[in-house]
C-alpha cells in the first residue's frame, strides 16, 4: 500500500472514531442512521452497480432483518449480536429466493417481481400478529454486549461502525476479486462471461444473497436503535428512497454509498418543512441526477475536474492567435 493511501485510511479512521465526540444525542442518532443507510446503499452497489440487477424491494430485506433479530432477541433472549447475524441470514435466505425470478426475467419485470416480494413481506409481517405485534408493532431491546447495555447512541455508534466498515472494505475490494470481476463481466456481456465459465445462475444468486445479507444486517441494527418496529416503516416508499439514495450517492461506488447514506439521513431534516411536497422533491432530485449526474455525487469531483480541464483547453486554444475560426 502506498504512503498517501495509508495516510488517507488513517485520517478516515481518526475522523470516524472522533466524530461522535462533537455531537449531541440527536446527532449521534443521525450518525448511526447514516451508517445504517450506508450499509443498504453498499448492498445496492453490489446488486445494481456490480451485478447489474435491479431491486425495488430492498425494504423487504430490511424488514426481514429487523423483525428476525427483534423476534429472536425478545422471544429467546438471544444476545444482540446473534440477533443481528440472524437478521442478516434470514434476509440472505430470502435474497437467494428472490434471485430465482432474476434468473428468468430482467429489467422492468425483475423490478416488479422484487416489488411484489417486498409487498408480500410487509403484509405477512403485518398479519402475523403473534410474532410481530401486527398493528401495534413490537418493542425491541437496546443493543447490549457482554452484559453491558448501550442505552444511548454514542456507544452504539462504535458497534455499528465496527460492523459497517468491514462491509465497506469488502465492497471496495469486490471489483478486484475473481468473484467481482466475473460478476461485473456478467453484467457487461452475459454471453461472453458465460462462454468463459461464469455460471450465471450461481453468480446472480450469490449477488442477491450477499446484497440481502447486508440489508438484513442493516435492518437488525436499525431495529435495536429505533426500539420499536412497525410494519408501515417498510413500505414501497422506503424501497424507493433506498434506490434514490443509491443513485444520488453513486451506484457504482462504495464511497457513493456513504454519500447516499448521509444524503438519506440529512435530506429529511432539511425537507421536513415542505411536508407533503417532500416526495415531489425526492422525485425531481432523482430525475435530475439520472439526467445530469448518472453516477451520483461520487462522480462529482471527476466531473468538475474534467470540466475545468476542458474549459482551460478551450481558453488556451481560443487564445492562440492563429486559432481555427468557427465560421
Amino acid at each position: 500500500m502506498s504512503l498517501p493511501r495509508i495516510a488517507g485510511y488513517a485520517l478516515a479512521a481518526v475522523v470516524l472514531l472522533a466524530l461522535p465526540f462533537a455531537g449531541s444525542h440527536y446527532e449521534h442518532f443521525l450518525l448511526n442512521t447514516a451508517l445504517i443507510y450506508t450499509l443498504i446503499a453498499l448492498s445496492l452497489v453490489i446488486l445494481i452497480g456490480y451485478a447489474g440487477q435491479i431491486s425495488i424491494g430492498h425494504a423487504g430485506f430490511w424488514a426481514l432483518g429487523a423483525f428476525a433479530s427483534a423476534i429472536l432477541v425478545t422471544k429467546t433472549g438471544a444476545p444482540f449480536l446473534v440477533g443481528v447475524l440472524f437478521g442478516g441470514i434470514v434476509a440472505a435466505v430470502f435474497g437467494a429466493l428472490v434471485a430465482i425470478p432474476a434468473l428468468r426475467v430482467q429489467g422492468h419485470y425483475l423490478a416488479i417481481a422484487t416489488l411484489g416480494f417486498a409487498l408480500i413481506v410487509q403484509q405477512t409481517l403485518f398479519e402475523w400478529e403473534s410474532l410481530t405485534g401486527g398493528r401495534q408493532g413490537m418493542f425491541v431491546p437496546r443493543p447490549s454486549l457482554a452484559g453491558h447495555e448501550f442505552t444511548d447512541d454514542f456507544g452504539y455508534y462504535y458497534i455499528i461502525l465496527a460492523i459497517v466498515v468491514p462491509f465497506f472494505l469488502l465492497t471496495v475490494r469486490l471489483p478486484k476479486t475473481r468473484f467481482g470481476r466475473r460478476l461485473i463481466a456478467l453484467k457487461l456481456s452475459p454471453l461472453a462471461a458465460a462462454s468463459f465459465g461464469v455460471n450465471r445462475a450461481r453468480y446472480l444468486t450469490a449477488a442477491f444473497t450477499l446484497s440481502a445479507f447486508l440489508t438484513g444486517i442493516s435492518g437488525a441494527l436499525y431495529a435495536h436503535m429505533i426500539g420499536h418496529l412497525a410494519t408501515e416503516t417498510f413500505s414501497l416508499i422506503t424501497s424507493l428512497s433506498f434506490l434514490t439514495m443509491a443513485v444520488i450517492g453513486g451506484i457504482l461506488s462504495p464511497v457513493g454509498a456513504v454519500l447516499g447514506g448521509i444524503y438519506l439521513t440529512v435530506a429529511p431534516e432539511f425537507l421536513r418543512e415542505f411536508k407533503s411536497l417532500q416526495m415531489v422533491i425526492y422525485g425531481v432530485l432523482l430525475v435530475l441526477f439520472m439526467r445530469f449526474l448518472p453516477h451520483g455525487l461520487a462522480s462529482l469531483p471527476k466531473r468538475v475536474w474534467t470540466g475545468i480541464q476542458r474549459r482551460r483547453a478551450l481558453k488556451t486554444s481560443s487564445a492562440l492567435p492563429e486559432g481555427r475560426s468557427h465560421d
Partner: protein, 262 residues
C-alpha cells in the same frame, strides 16, 4: 481431462428457428490438431453451427461428441473447462474495461480460487490473481498487442479488438478454438500474421481450430480441411484443393448474388 486434444464428432445436427430450418442433418468430424474451415454463402448456417458447438444454441436433434464428452449435455458455462473457447463475429468484449481486464476474464476461467480466500484477499487468492494477470499479459504479448494492456478496449481499433478477443480465448489454453470471421476488418499484413498464429497454435500447442471465414485466400491457405454449408446443409467436406474444384460448391457460391468467393 487429458492433455491430448480429442476428436470432435458432430452427427445429424438440425435446428429450426420458427419453422425456418437453419441446420439440416449436419454431420462431420474434425481431427485433432487441425485447422478446419467452415465456409459457405451468407446465411448458410456457419455461425449457427458455431453457436451450437459452443452451447449458445441448442439444436433440435443431433449429437456433438468432443472425445468422450457429450457437449450437448453440458451448460454454456462449462465450455471453458472442457477446453472449448471462441471469438465472436461481432465482438463480445467488455467494452468499458481495459484490454488486460478483458483477457483476465479468460485467464480466471481456469484459475480456481476458494470463495472465502478470494473475498478476504488471502495470500493464496492474491497469488492466483497475480498469476492470472501474468498469463493475460503474456497472451496480449503473443498477439503482438502488449502495449494496449491498460487501454479501454472500446477505444481500440477494430483489428486490435479482434486480437484482444483472440487473446482472451487463447489464455484459457483451449483444446478446441472456434473463430468466427477472425480476419474480417484486418488488413492483408494483419491477416498474414493471423495465419501464422493459427498454424503455430496447431503445430506447437496441438489445438484444433474451427474457422468461419469469408476471406477465401486465408481459408485455402491455412485450412487442412473444409466443410461447405449451403442453406443449412453440408455440401461437402474435403481438403481445400478438392473443395475448390467441386461443382456443387461453385454453384452454391455463384448461385448467390452476394458472392463471397470472389
Amino acid at each position: 481431462m487429458t492433455d491430448r486434444t480429442p476428436h470432435l464428432f458432430v452427427r445429424d445436427l438440425s435446428l429450426s428457428f420458427a419453422g425456418l430450418k437453419a441446420l439440416k442433418d449436419v454431420t462431420f468430424s474434425v481431427p485433432p490438431a487441425s485447422i478446419f474451415g467452415l465456409i459457405g454463402p451468407n446465411g448458410a448456417g456457419k455461425t449457427t453451427l458455431l453457436n451450437c458447438l459452443t452451447r449458445i444454441y441448442t439444436p433440435n436433434t443431433g449429437s456433438i461428441m468432443f472425445g468422450e464428452t457429450r457437449v450437448l449435455d453440458q451448460p454454456l458455462h462449462a465450455m471453458s473447462s472442457l477446453g472449448i473457447a471462441r471469438t465472436f463475429q461481432n465482438l463480445e468484449l467488455f467494452g468499458v474495461e481495459t484490454a488486460l481486464d478483458n483477457v483476465l476474464i479468460g485467464a480466471l476461467s481456469n484459475t480456481p480460487v476458494s470463495s472465502i480466500a478470494d473475498l478476504l484477499g488471502l495470500p493464496s487468492a492474491r497469488k492466483a490473481l497475480r498469476d492470472a494477470r501474468e498469463r493475460a499479459h503474456a497472451a496480449l504479448a503473443l498477439m503482438g498487442i502488449a502495449e494496449v494492456a491498460d487501454r479501454t478496449v472500446a477505444t481500440l481499433a477494430y483489428g486490435v479488438q479482434k486480437r484482444v478477443e483472440l487473446a482472451r480465448a487463447l489464455v484459457t489454453e483451449p483444446r478446441l478454438l472456434l473463430l468466427d470471421e477472425p480476419a474480417a476488418g484486418l488488413n492483408p499484413d494483419e491477416t498474414k500474421a493471423l495465419a501464422d498464429v493459427l498454424r503455430d497454435l496447431r503445430d506447437t500447442k496441438k489445438i484444433t481450430i474451427i474457422l468461419v471465414e469469408h476471406d477465401m485466400s486465408l481459408v485455402m491457405n491455412v485450412c487442412d480441411e473444409l466443410l461447405v454449408l449451403d442453406h443449412g446443409e453440408v455440401i461437402t467436406q474435403d481438403v481445400p484443393a478438392v473443395v475448390r474444384k467441386n461443382p456443387k460448391v461453385i454453384m452454391a457460391y455463384l448461385g448467390e448474388e452476394d458472392s463471397d468467393a470472389a
